[in-house]
Structure formats: C-alpha cells, structure tokens
C-alpha cells in the first residue's frame, strides 16, 4: 500500500515540476492550467479503472471472467486481485471435486441414504433411497419428508425424536418391500435417514419360525398317537392280541419319529460339513444298477420302470451323498405314482454336461408349488405325503446335497400328468468312466 501512496505522491510532484516549465515560459496562469489539466487527466485515468473494477465485480459469482488489465498503479492492484482470484478458483475447484466424489460414494451406497435439514426437508438422497421411497430427487428436493412418507408409524417415529431403534416399515408405494429405517441426527440439526431392504431377512425369519413350528408339529403327531396307546394299555385291561396290535402301531410311530430325527441330523451334518472333495470317484454304472434294484424292490412289480443310460462317464464327489440324493428322487417317483404307472430314469452324460432325470406318470402338482418344494416340511397336500410315509425332509436333503456338488435341480410338473425331476452336474465333476483294470488298481 505504502508504495502505491508514494508513487501517487511522486507522480503529483512530477506533474507539479512539469507545470513549472510552462509557468516560467508563459506565466503563472498557464502553469496552473497545465497542472489542473494534468490532474484531471489523472482523475479520469482512475475513474476509468474504478469503472473497470466495478464492471468486473458486478459479474455473476458463478462464472467470474478475467480480471481486467490496467496501467499505472492500477496494474499493481489488478495483479494482486488476479493472484487472489486464481487461488480462490483453484480452491473452489478442489472443493467441488471433493464434493462430487463424496456424492458419488453416497450414490453407490447399497443402502438408501437421505439427508434431511432442520425442518425435515429432503436435501439430498441417493438412488437406492429414491427407489425405496419411490421419489425423485429432482422434483422432490426441498419437500418435507413427512409429506411423501405419510405412514402414521413413520411420522410418529420422526416426531418422537428417539432414534435409538430402527423402524420396520412396509414401503407404501412398492408394497413388496419391507424397509428398516434409521434416523441419525448429525451436525447442525440435520438428520441422516438410512433405509435398508430387509425383505429377505424378514422372509428368512418367517422360514425359521415355520421350521420350528413344523418340527414340533411333525413330532407331536406320532407322539400323541404313542401316548394315547400307552394310556389305553395302562388304564384298560386288554387281551394280549389287542396289546400286540397296539405295540406294533406304537413301534411304527416310533420308527416314524426316528426317521424324522435321522433326516434332521442328516441335514444338519450336510450344513456343517465342508464341500465334498473332487478326489472321490463315483462309478456310475454300478450305482445305476443299484438304484434299479432298489427301485424294483420298492415298487414290488407295481410299476413299469425303465432305465435309459447313455454316455460312459463317472462323477466326482461323495458317493454316499449322491446315492442318497438320486435314490430319494427315485423313491419319490415310485411313491407318488399310482400302481401301473410308468417311471423312466435317464442318465445322459457327455464331457460337458451330465443329466440325471426321472420322469413319472404320477399325480403331479401345480407349478406354483415348485419354488417352495425343497423347503423343509413343505407339503403340496398336507394329508397325502404323510400317508405315503414321507418325513417332509427328503427333497430338502436332495437340494442340499446337490448344492454341495454344484449341481442344479430342475423340476417340472403338471397335475394329473406326472413330474420330471432333472439333476444337472457341472463339467468339473464329470470324468470319463474308469476302465475295469484302472478300477482294479484303485481298489486294493
């Protein structure tokens, strides 16, 4: 600043000195006129630059243009201004970039994130939140959230100011979604509204509840029968033949409970055991022969059973598990096919894919049951399967075993026409069949 003042003083002194010469030559009046004229010129120079400055300052803040260039002392002033402006612009760009990065991070967050201001207006939200609440940030920016999320439960939660627990809510606009909402106050009376889709969790929770209820129910039925007979035998004086009959029935019910408990244990073992290794070779031709013998024994000649085998390939995996899974599908087909029906077992293997399929001409079921068929204790018809002696866990076990072998189960069925259960094994579990001597070497 000091040297600006100094320069101005020197300039005026220079003008005064310059005025001295015409003053000497043409008299004092001419000197004064020259001095005044030079001062007016200086003043005009300053006014021009002040106007330039005002014009620059008057520009919209969002896109500042180039700082004007000046001459004389204004050059120095504008240079300072230019430097200041450049630093500010850089800072601004840096901040804007950081903000964009944060917003991008918020956008891709898998949970819904919404920022509310002190009056609970929507300030910002990410795509997930837009989807959860079915709103659009462009049109709903600044809208009080309670105007759009009008459920009384939510308004009560918002107004209670006690956000220690999340709120579970069925989304109003997309009713298939169940949301868990949590408000977190932060900063200057602002709030963060987090929303998470808990539809799946909710479904799992209800499956777990159903499972416990089903297990108790399945075990209670034989238990009731058992205790009924025991009480009868204790209270009444029965002849030995009746006691014998009752004992047989009781043994049968005990066996039933035994089956259920065994199946449950199998399931829990399958769940906790590691995935079967790729080392163990399952020789398919003896296995299929065994399945055939078992099927014919179970059917007792009441069904026509065909085996259609093509492709000389073996599987890698746990033999016990695969036998149990494939056998289970065969016994299901026999149990749900009336006498005289036809059961066709297909085994087609190539190096790329192996398919094991069972087609029957049994009673079948409606397609809506297919997604739930492998759930534990799921019954297409409550009375029917218990009468045929199932525990309700067979297909759950099959599904588990196949999952462990990365195999897929494809179910098709039509009521009254029959069903088709197909198992597809992935290429990594298929190997060319071992020749007899290799097998002989492998088996000491």
């Amino acid at each position: 600043m000091d040297h600006l003042v100094l320069r101005t003083v020197f300039l005026i002194a220079g003008i005064a000195a310059g005025a001295f010469l015409p003053g000497l030559l043409f008299g004092a009046t001419a000197g004064v006129i020259f001095f005044a004229g030079a001062l007016v010129a200086l003043l005009l120079h300053h006014i021009r630059h002040v106007a330039l400055l005002a014009q620059w300052l008057n520009q919209p803040q969002t896109q500042p243009g180039q700082v004007p260039r000046g001459s004389g002392i204004w050059d120095n002033v504008f240079a300072l201004l230019y430097r200041y402006e450049r630093v500010k612009t850089q800072e601004h760009q840096l901040l804007a970039k950081t903000l964009v990065r944060f917003r991008q991070a918020g956008r891709v967050h898998p949970d819904g994130v919404m920022i509310l201001d002190a009056e609970n207006r929507i300030e910002w939200c990410n795509d997930t939140a837009e989807h959860h609440f079915d709103l659009s940030l462009d049109s709903d920016h600044g809208q009080p959230i309670a105007n759009l999320l009008r459920q009384p439960e939510f308004i009560a939660y918002l107004e209670a100011c006690d956000y220690s627990n999340p709120l579970e809510l069925r989304a109003a606009r997309t009713s298939a979604i169940i949301l868990s909402l949590q408000i977190i106050p932060y900063g200057d009376a602002q709030k963060l509204l987090l929303s998470r889709d808990v539809t799946r969790l909710e479904k799992l929770e209800s499956m777990r509840r159903d499972f416990v209820a089903n297990v108790s129910h399945e075990l209670r039925t034989p238990l009731t029968v058992l205790s009924g007979f025991l009480e009868t035998i204790r209270e009444l004086d029965l002849d030995p033949q009746r006691v014998q009959d009752y004992s047989n029935l009781m043994v049968e019910q005990c066996r039933r409970m035994q089956c259920i408990v065994d199946d449950l244990l199998t399931l829990s073992t399958l769940e906790s055991a590691p995935s079967p290794s790729l080392d163990e070779r399952i020789r398919m031709s003896p296995l299929l022969a065994r399945l055939r013998a078992d099927a014919e024994a179970l059917s007792g000649g009441k069904h026509r059973i065909f085996f259609d085998v093509s492709g000389d390939f073996d599987l890698l995996g746990s033999e016990n598990e695969i036998v149990s899974a494939l056998g289970n599908l065969v016994s299901n087909a026999i149990r749900y096919t009336p006498d005289g029906g036809e059961i066709r077992v297909l085994w087609r293997a190539t190096a790329d894919e192996a398919e094991y399929a069972i087609e029957d001409t049994g009673i079948g079921f409606a397609p809506e049951h297919i997604p739930r068929l492998t759930e534990r204790f799921y019954r297409v018809d409550r009375g029917r399967s218990r009468a045929t002696g199932g525990t309700g866990l067979g297909l759950a076990i099959v599904k588990h075993i196949l999952n462990r072998h990365q195999a897929a189960l494809d179910i098709r069925s039509e009521p009254g026409k029959g069903s088709r259960f197909a198992v597809r094994f992935p290429p990594r579990r298929i190997v060319p069949a071992a020749t007899a001597d290799v097998v002989a070497q492998e088996m000491p």
């Binding site: 809208q143 009008r150 439960e153």
Partner: protein, 231 residues
C-alpha cells in the same frame, strides 16, 4: 408457495397447514389399507382396530378446520394462498369421508365370516386401485403436480368400470343361489365404499388443479381437465 411473504411465520403457517393435511391423508391411507387387507385375510382384530381408530381421523378434521379459520382470520390470505386454504378445507372433508368408508368396510367385513372368495378377490383388486388413487392424489398435493392430478381424474373411470363388473358378478351369484343374497349385498356395500374412495380422490385431485392453476375443473369432461392441467 412460490413467492415468499415478508412475514416468515405466514409461510411457515401455510406450509404447516399443507403438512397436516398430508399427515391426515397418511392416516386415512393406512386405515383403508388395513381395512382392505383385514377383509381379504378375514382378520377381525385388524378390522376392529380400523373402527376404533376412526375417531383420530375425525379429530384431525376438526383441528385442521380450526387451523384454516384461524389462518384466514389472522392473515387474510389472497390469491394462491387463499386458494390453498379453500382447497384444504374441501380436501379435509373428502379425507374424512374416506376415513368413514374405511370404517364402513371394516364393519361389513367383520359381520360376514364366510364372504365368498371369488367376488372378494375382485373387491381386493378394486381396493388396490382405490388406495393407489388416494395415494397419488396426496402425492399430487404434496408436489403440486397438476399432470398427476389430471391422470387421477382419468383413473376414476377405471374404478367405476371395475365396480360395474363386480355388480354384474354379484347379480349372477344371486340368481344362481338366492341364499347368497345377504352376503352379496354386503360385498356390494363394500365395493360401493371403495368406489366412493375413487370419487373422493378425484375431488382432491380437482382441488390440486384449482390451487395451482386457479381454474375450477369440477363437473367438466376429462379431456377439458387435461387441457387445463397441461396448459
């Protein structure tokens, strides 16, 4: 609204009024939803709750009406603000009626334990449309969206068609077996109640257009309304 008043409190009062109407709307929405779901599931406890909660809707109506008269007396609103207050008074009446329809559905649903399944499914479908219309009407009020409001007025035609289909179905039932008459009449009342929800939603949508555009679009054709809303 768009322009700010010199008194900030005035703006806040107007905003609060709209928010309270929408809060009442939310309550009515949940009442209708509970009534229709309770009816479909045959859950009497839910239906009972709807009937007991009806007084909350009524209390809100009275309280919002009082707010409106206070606002008129204190601020003497003009132009857009006045239209907003007038529309709120009418919308609140419509909402209260919808609340009554919810209670009516709940009361009818509670009596008939063995309402026939087939027409009931149709009623539930119709209920879904009615709830959707109410929700869209309230959304349109929140966003002051005239295009959405005009769409609701068109949707009312659809729900009326649905109602006529249910009536035809019920007539067939009654002709086949006169023992189903009392049951069919109950279902008819329920369907009528839902149809009324559609009408009330339409009224609310018309008020939204009135607030934004300043033109009264009651009792004119759907095409004219759409022209007004878009223009």
């Amino acid at each position: 609204m768009a322009q700010e008043h010199s008194s900030k409190q005035y703006d806040l009062d107007l905003e609060a009024l709209r928010s309270r109407v929408l809060e009442m709307g939310g309550l009515v929405e949940s009442q209708i939803l509970a009534a229709v779901n309770g009816l479909a599931a045959g859950d009497n406890r839910v239906l009972e709750q709807v009937i007991t909660d009806d007084h909350r809707v009524n209390a809100m109506e009275v309280s919002i009406d009082t707010d409106c008269s206070h606002l008129i007396a204190r601020r003497q609103p003009t132009a857009g603000d006045l239209r907003m207050v007038l529309a709120v008074i009418k919308i609140v009446t419509d909402l209260e009626r919808v609340g009554d329809e919810a209670a009516k559905i709940a009361r009818l649903g509670k009596q008939g334990h063995a309402l026939a399944r087939t027409p009931l499914a149709a009623v539930k479908h119709m209920g879904g449309i009615g709830i959707g219309m109410l929700r869209k009407a309230l959304d349109a009020l929140a966003r002051l969206d005239t295009v959405a409001a005009a769409a609701i007025i068109r949707e009312d035609v659809e729900i009326d068609e649905e109602f006529r289909a249910i009536v035809r179905q019920l007539i067939t039932f009654m002709m086949e077996d006169p023992r189903t008459i009392s049951q069919a009449i109950d279902i008819l009342w329920i369907a009528k109640a839902i149809e009324r929800i559609g009408d009330h939603s339409k009224n609310m949508a018309e008020q939204v257009i009135y607030v934004v555009k300043g033109t009264d679009v009651r009792h004119i054709s759907v095409e004219q309304v759409e022209r007004e809303a878009l223009g």
